[in-house]
Symmetry: C2
Subunit: 508 residues, 2 copies
C-alpha cells in the first residue's frame, strides 16, 4: 500500500509543529492499518483524543437525534468487533475460534455469491466501451450483453454516470412496472415508481411527509425492524405499537390494531399510517391472504396510509405460504386509486440476490392526489436521484432473465410443466372456442392451426401436440429448449407478441 | 422489449373487472412508452386520474415539506421537457431544433466521457470473477486490474455486494485519508471520514444534527446551491443569509457575515453553523487563502461549525487561483481539533470525473467531542451504509493513479520537473547534512551514496545526477519512464518506503 509522506506540509510549519505532527501521524498510521478484515461494524473513534468543541456538545444536538435508537448496529456489535480483533491478534484467547455473525441480513458477507447475470450486466453498464470488443463475448454471457445494450438504450446518451430523472431512469421504471404487473396480475404505472438508494431512504421520505409533529402517530408492528422506530423518532412523530401474536405464529389481528388505534386517538394522537412488514422482520411470518384483506379493509375504513414493507418478497420457504403484494390484494378486492393510499417498498438487498451494498430499491406509490404526489416528487428531487447501479439492479431483480418455461407460463391460456430432463417443453394451450371453430372450418386440428399461424407470423417451428397424442379436448405443442442462448430472447418476444394478437383475434 | 401479458391476473377477477382493467392497462402501455430519451427531468404524473385519497391531502402533509423548495428541478425544467417532446414529435415546430441543457452540473449527460481507469476498476469490482480470466488482461489495463485487486483485498470476503461499515469500507477510508493528506500536507484520520451517497445526504445529516427548532439558524451564502435552503427547511431551521459581493467577484466579507449573525441573534436565533461553498455554486468564485483564514478565525471566535462544501475542488480554471481546503487552512493556522469544528464535503459528481449518477461522496468531520461523533455515527448507521460503487469511486477520486513524476514530487525533499519529452525524469533531491557526511565518510559522491543504498535495499537501478553534471551543491538522479505499466506501482512503493527510512535515518 502506498504511503504518502507529508512532505509538502513542511512548508507551512515551524519545527515544533513538525515534531507534534510527525508523532501523531505515526499513531495515525498505526490506527489506520488495524484490522481491515472485520465484517462487523462499530463506531470508529478518532485516534487523536479530541476535547469538546466549544460550540456543539451532545446536549445541544437535535433532541430527535438523541432519542433515535438503532440497535441493529449497537453495543453487541462493538463487543463482537473487539472479540474478532482479539481472535486475530491472540488466537486461542477464547473458547471459540471464530465470530459467527447472525445479527444482520447481509447475505454476501457470509459467503452467498451474487447472481452472475446481475453482476455481468452491472459491469457492462459501468464500462460500456468494452461491449464492442471481441474479448467481451468470451467473458460475458450473451444474455447479459443483450440486457446491457437494452438498458443503455434507455439511458439518454448511454451516460451511466449522469444524474437521472429524480424518480429514476424512465426505461428502468417501465421494466419494474412490467415486472410488478407480471408478479401481481394487475397494472403498474412507471410514474408511480420512485427508485431510491435501498428501501430505507424511501421509508424516511414517507415519514418526513406524513409526520407534522409528535401528535402524529404511525402504527408499527411490535416486534419491528427498527428503521421504523428510528425514522419516526428522527422525524418527531409518535410510534403507536400494535403487538403481533407470537402464539399464532406472529399473527396480525386487526382487532389488536384497532384497539391500539383507539387508545392512541384517546391520547390525542392523529394516526396517519399503518406499517406492515410482510414477510416479517424480525419475526419471519408470511401473512395469509385473508389476513391481508382484513388489513386493507381496515386501512380503507380508518383512512390510514398502508406502508407495506415487502423487501423479503422473494424469501418464502414454506410451500403452504405464498407472497401476495398488498397492491395485488387491494386490486383483487376491487379497490383502486380512490379507495386506498398504499406505498410498497422493495429492495435489492434481500431475496436470492442479497445485494445489500449496492443500495437499490424503490417505493411504488398509489392512491394519492396529484398535489401530494408533487410533494413526494419534490422531496425526491432534493437528493437529485438514486445511484444508477442500484437502479439497474432493481430493474434486473424485478425482471430477471426468463426461461422459455417462464415465458410460456406467462401467456394467457398457456400452462407449462417444468422440464426436468430431455430436451423439450410440452405446454398446454387452452384454445378459445372461436379458434377451434376457425380450425375446423380450415379442416385442421386446432393445435396445428395454432402452430401454422405461429410459423407464418414469426418463423418459429413447433410440433403440434396432436402428433404425440393427448387427452381428448386438450391441446399442446412441443418446443425444444435447444436454441442458442442469444436467440431465446427473440423467440420469447415474437412468440409473446404473436400469442397476444392470436388471443385478441379469437378470444371468446 | 418483452411484454408481460397479465394472464395470471384473470384468475382473480370476474369478467366485468377484466374489461375495466384491460382498457386501463392499454392506456398504461401508451403512457409507459412515451419518450424515454429525455435528458431533462420533470415531475411524472400518473396517467390514471387519481382523486383525493380520503386520508392525506396536501394540506395535511408535514408543513416543512411544503415550505421546502428546490428550483434546480422546478418549473423551467418541466417546460423544457415538454419542448423537447414537441421537438421530437414535431420537428420544426420551434425556432430552435434542440434543447440545450445549461441548467444542472451533470457533465456526462452532455457528452463528457467518464475516466476509463475509474470505470474499469468499477466494472472489475462489480464482477470480480473475471479477474482470473485471460481475456480480462486484454480488455482492462494492468493498472485497473491491480487497483481492483487492492480494493477487493480491503473488503471482507471480497463481497462487494455486502453492507459495509456504516462509515464506509475501512481500507477505502484509509485511501481517502491518505489522499487528503497528500492534497493538504496535514494528517487525515480515516475514522473522521463518513462515506455517503453523494455529498447531499451528508449535508442533510449535519442539518439534522444541528437544528433543534426554528430558533436555530444556519448562515448560508446568497446566492447558494439550494440544497442548503431545502435541507434547512426540511429540518425546521432558519436560514440566515449572508450576501456575497458581486462587485468584487462574489467575495465573502466576514464583516457582512458578522452583521448577519448579529441581526439573527437580535431576533432570538441561535446561529449554529456557517456554510461556505468553495469553489462557489452558482457563483464560480474561488476564495483567496487570506479570505479563508478570516473565515476560520470568525468561526472559531463565534463558536460556529464550519460546513465547507468543497465538491468543486477539482474545478479551478484560472492560474491565479488555487483550491485550499478549509482543513489545510485551519491546520496551517495552527488550529487543531480543540479549536474549530469543521465538516468538509466532497463528491464524485464534479471535477474531471463528473460521476453524478454513481452517488459517491463523503464528509470529513473534525473538532467534535466523542459523544457528538457517536451521534453522527448513529445517524449514519440507520441507513446502514452508502453504495459500495460510490465508495470505491470516492477512493479513486481521492487517490488517482500516480505517475512516477507525481510519486517523486510527493517524497520529502524531492522535487521533479515535468517530463515533456525524451524518456527520463531528473528529480532533484535535497540530501540532509547527515547523509552528505556519511557519503563523504565512505568516499562517495552523495547522490551516488543515495542510489547505491536504494539499489541494495530495493533492486531499483537509477543513475546518480553527478554523472550528468549539476549546479554545485545540488543533487539529482535520473530515472527512466520506461518500465512496464504493471511494474510501476511496485517501483513507486519500494522507492517510497526506502526514501522514508533513508530520511528517518539521516534527517537533520
Amino acid at each position: 500500500m502506498r504511503r504518502f509522506v507529508i512532505g509538502r506540509g513542511r512548508n507551512f510549519l515551524n519545527r515544533s509543529h513538525q515534531q507534534n505532527l510527525l508523532s501523531s501521524s505515526s499513531s495515525h498510521c498505526q490506527s489506520r492499518f488495524l484490522s481491515s478484515t472485520s465484517v462487523i461494524d462499530s463506531p470508529s473513534s478518532s485516534s487523536m483524543a479530541p476535547t469538546s468543541s466549544p460550540a456543539i456538545t451532545v446536549d445541544s444536538l437535535n433532541p430527535k437525534v438523541l432519542k433515535c435508537e438503532y440497535a441493529v448496529r449497537g453495543e453487541i456489535v462493538s463487543i463482537a468487533q473487539r472479540l474478532q480483533q482479539e481472535l486475530q491478534t491472540n488466537p486461542g484467547s477464547h473458547s471459540f475460534d471464530e465470530i459467527l455473525s447472525c445479527n444482520i441480513g447481509n447475505p454476501q458477507s457470509l459467503g452467498q455469491q451474487p447472481i452472475t447475470f446481475f453482476r455481468e450486466v452491472l459491469a457492462l453498464c459501468d464500462h460500456p466501451s468494452i461491449l464492442d470488443r471481441s474479448e467481451t463475448q468470451g467473458l460475458f454471457s450473451a444474455d447479459s450483453i443483450e440486457r446491457a445494450w437494452q438498458i443503455l438504450d434507455q439511458i439518454p446518451g448511454r451516460a451511466t454516470g449522469a444524474y437521472s430523472h429524480s424518480q429514476g431512469i424512465k426505461g428502468l421504471r417501465d421494466t419494474i412496472a412490467a415486472g410488478i404487473e407480471a408478479r401481481d396480475g394487475f397494472p403498474a404505472d412507471p410514474n408511480d415508481i420512485f427508485l431510491t438508494d435501498g428501501a430505507s431512504p424511501a421509508v424516511h421520505m414517507m415519514m418526513q411527509l406524513l409526520i407534522r409533529s409528535e401528535n402524529d402517530g404511525i402504527l408499527c408492528p411490535i416486534p419491528q425492524y427498527p428503521l421504523y422506530s428510528a425514522s419516526i423518532a428522527l422525524h418527531g412523530g409518535t410510534l403507536v405499537p400494535y403487538y403481533l401474536d407470537e402464539a399464532t405464529g406472529w399473527g396480525l389481528e386487526t382487532s389488536e390494531v384497532k384497539k391500539q388505534l383507539e387508545a392512541a386517538k384517546a391520547k390525542g394522537i392523529t394516526v396517519r399510517a399503518l406499517v406492515v412488514i410482510n414477510p416479517g422482520n424480525p419475526t419471519g411470518q408470511v401473512l395469509a391472504e385473508e389476513n391481508q384483506r382484513a388489513i386493507v379493509d381496515f386501512c380503507k375504513k380508518e383512512g390510514l396510509v398502508l406502508l407495506a414493507d415487502e423487501v423479503y418478497q422473494e424469501n418464502v420457504y414454506v410451500p403452504e405460504k405464498k407472497f401476495h403484494s398488498f397492491k395485488k390484494v387491494s386490486r383483487s378486492m376491487g379497490y383502486g386509486e380512490k379507495d386506498i393510499s398504499l406505498v410498497s417498498f422493495q429492495s435489492v438487498s434481500k431475496g436470492y440476490y442479497g445485494e445489500c451494498g449496492k443500495r437499490g430499491g424503490y417505493m411504488e406509490v398509489t392512491g394519492f392526489s396529484p398535489e401530494v404526489r408533487e410533494q413526494i416528487y419534490k422531496v425526491a428531487s432534493v437528493n437529485l436521484c438514486s445511484n444508477i447501479s442500484g437502479q439497474i439492479l432493481a430493474s434486473l431483480v424485478m425482471s430477471p432473465p426468463k426461461t422459455l418455461e417462464d415465458a410460456f407460463n406467462s401467456l394467457e391460456g398457456i400452462t407449462c410443466n417444468k422440464a426436468e430432463g430431455a430436451m423439450y417443453l410440452f405446454p398446454r394451450i387452452q384454445l378459445p372456442e372461436k379458434a377451434i371453430k376457425a380450425a375446423e372450418a380450415e379442416k385442421t386440428v386446432p393445435d396445428a392451426f395454432y402452430c401454422r399461424r405461429l410459423l407464418n407470423a414469426t418463423g418459429i417451428v413447433l410440433v403440434p401436440g396432436s402428433g404425440f397424442g393427448q387427452v381428448p379436448g386438450t391441446w399442446h405443442f412441443r418446443c425444444t429448449i435447444l436454441p442458442q442462448e442469444d436467440k431465446i430472447p427473440a423467440i420469447v418476444t415474437r412468440l409473446t407478441d404473436f400469442h397476444k394478437s392470436f388471443m385478441d383475434k379469437f378470444r371468446n
